[in-house]
Amino acid sequence: MSLTETTYWVVGASFALYIIIAIRARAGSTQEFYVAGGGIHPVANGMATAADWMSAASFISMAGLIGLSYNGYGGSVFLMGWTGGYVILAMLIAPYLRKYGKFTVPEFIGDRYYSSAARVVAVICLIICSVTYVIGQMKGIGVAFSRFLETDYETGLLSGMVIVFFYAVLGGMKGITYTQIAQFCVLIFAYTVPAIFISLQLTGQPIPQLGLGSTLADGTYLLHKLDQILLDLGFQEYTTSVRGSTLNMAAFTASLMIGTAGLPHVIIRFFTVPTVRAARTSAGWALVFIAILYTTAPAVAAMARLNIIQTLQPEPGQHLAINERPAWFKNWEQTGLLGIEDKNADGLIQYSADPVTNELVTLDNDILVLANPEIANLPNWVIALVAAGGLAAALSTAAGLLLAISSAISHDLLKRTFMPAISERQELMASRLAMAAAVLGAGYLGLNPPGFAAGTVALAFGLAAASLFPALLLGIFSKRVTREGAILGMLAGIGVTLAYVFQHKGIMFIPGTSFLGDLPPNWFLGIEPNGFGVVGALVNFAVALGVTRITSPPPDSVRELVDDIRVPVSPRAI
């Protein structure tokens, strides 16, 4: 069976599984549609959260970002940032919002800050964060289809939309939860199998996390060898190359951490477990399942980088001849992810850090994960599995984001703000229509990506960190912060973050409109735009606390609400 046929079978089987689950998990009430009935087991919710969390970016791009763009150590910002947020979530956010026990994040902000205006501002912040995020997933679906199934991008994207439409509109959170569990199994299997093989081949150690610190066949440590080779080629050392400055690394890491704890599609997953206690352990399980991929990724990054360099340069000074390059190399050249140019016309490929003489002119980040099975000579079914895994990662995250968007529209805007008189049946219908509209809207943006679509996933974290996270944290840990403080804080936080990103990357990312230029010397304290969320969050805190001092205190009912959510049982129940 050819590779394409195998891939069709594996991907087709995974899609059939998602559809069967969707038919069996239809939502019959708004409670099932928004929070899956609230009775999901913490381990099951942990698995669903992991799939919800790990997007196409985590699955396809992250190892390459670490291994190539960020040259090793610099990529640690993603590893620590995208996992450390769960500790904040488990201690500072999830238990209290679970105790609050309603359906959405803006709903909490509206009640805590006794104001429909606060709820609407939270909905706007939620939609800005989630839409920038979902565009990346839609692109991921289209790209995965077109690379592995040889369809064009549009066909791939439409197929993905049909699947998401089917289970998200029908099942809401209930359908999404059970499909995400299946998608987690597919994606984690697909990620770890090639990693185990590549680790075995290089170090003889089947566990990639240990293989990263093991010795190669020649007796030298893998990381020492990689450091040495990269230094010889003119790069920085793999294990010590800092991204920007220490302050930039710290700010970037912190932005991703608090962004994680402020992203609504993650928070609402903790509304689906039965108790406050379950919300805490569920965050732990989510991180266990996420860590399987996140501790494997740095091993894949280093090992695949070494493999590629050693393919090009088996011994120092010895270079691969262009007409002897392996089949996988030619295959990935056709997709535009790899590109060579024989600048000195000697028929050999010279790879180096110097852009003038480097002849491997294109080396896309995604190649590290996508081409890994072929580089390691793994059988076709493993390559097919990577395709199914990438799609599972993109579909599960897209569905979670779409639910966050549609429930904000049907529940917070319609039911709680503009049409409070509608019945539950009407609201369920409205939530299905909002979901359908969100899927179509995301599909449209995926087909006609606005100029800023590339690289916006990290931006979504900065925006969540600067807008929703401080409002939630202050809402739980302070009884004094007022609605005026929270509203102005959210607007200031998201405003200053967007302004910083726009002034360096262009207004709405249109090239040429960046009035300060995307140049490190102009960065505030040397912090790059993607890492600016933590500064936006500090602005948000400062404005919220400052305005609180000059506005009249919240009503007693708010103080009672805060007292109530802080403890797992309500006063009357004791």
Binding site: G39, I66, G72, Y73, G75, S76, L79, M80, T83, G84, Y86, V87, I88, A90, M91, L92, P95, Q209, L212, G213, S214, T215, Y221, L222, L223, H224, T239, T240, T246, M249, A250, T253, A254, M257, P274, T275, V276, R277, R280, T281, A283, G284, L287, V288, A291, Y294, T295, P298, D563, R566, V567, P568, V569, P571, I574
Partner: protein, 91 residues
């Protein structure tokens, strides 16, 4: 008589909760932004198997510690709830 007692228990619960958060939060900061970023250079002088120690914290150790922290926090909070009679009924 019942009401003030339960109010007092709720206050103790919250104070203890803040204390545990401070303890676990400090460890959280130390293993990630501390060992992984701020103190990475001195730690890299120490070699642990094939890893420089600072690099290991940044790419492996911090993540393992995070998992332990969450389960440890969940456990102390569950015990605290039991001790103060504030645990939720099982569903």
């Amino acid at each position: 008589m019942e009401q003030p007692q339960s109010d007092a228990r709720r206050r103790i619960y919250w104070r203890e909760n803040l204390r545990w958060m401070a303890i676990f939060g400090t460890i959280w900061f130390a293993v990630s932004l501390g060992c992984g970023v701020l103190w990475v250079e001195p730690l890299n002088q120490i070699q642990m198997g094939g890893f420089k120690l600072g690099f290991w914290f940044a790419q492996q150790g911090a993540i393992y510690t995070f998992i332990v922290l969450i389960f440890a926090y969940a456990r102390v909070m569950a015990r605290l709830e039991e001790r103060l009679g504030l645990e939720e009924p099982d569903e």
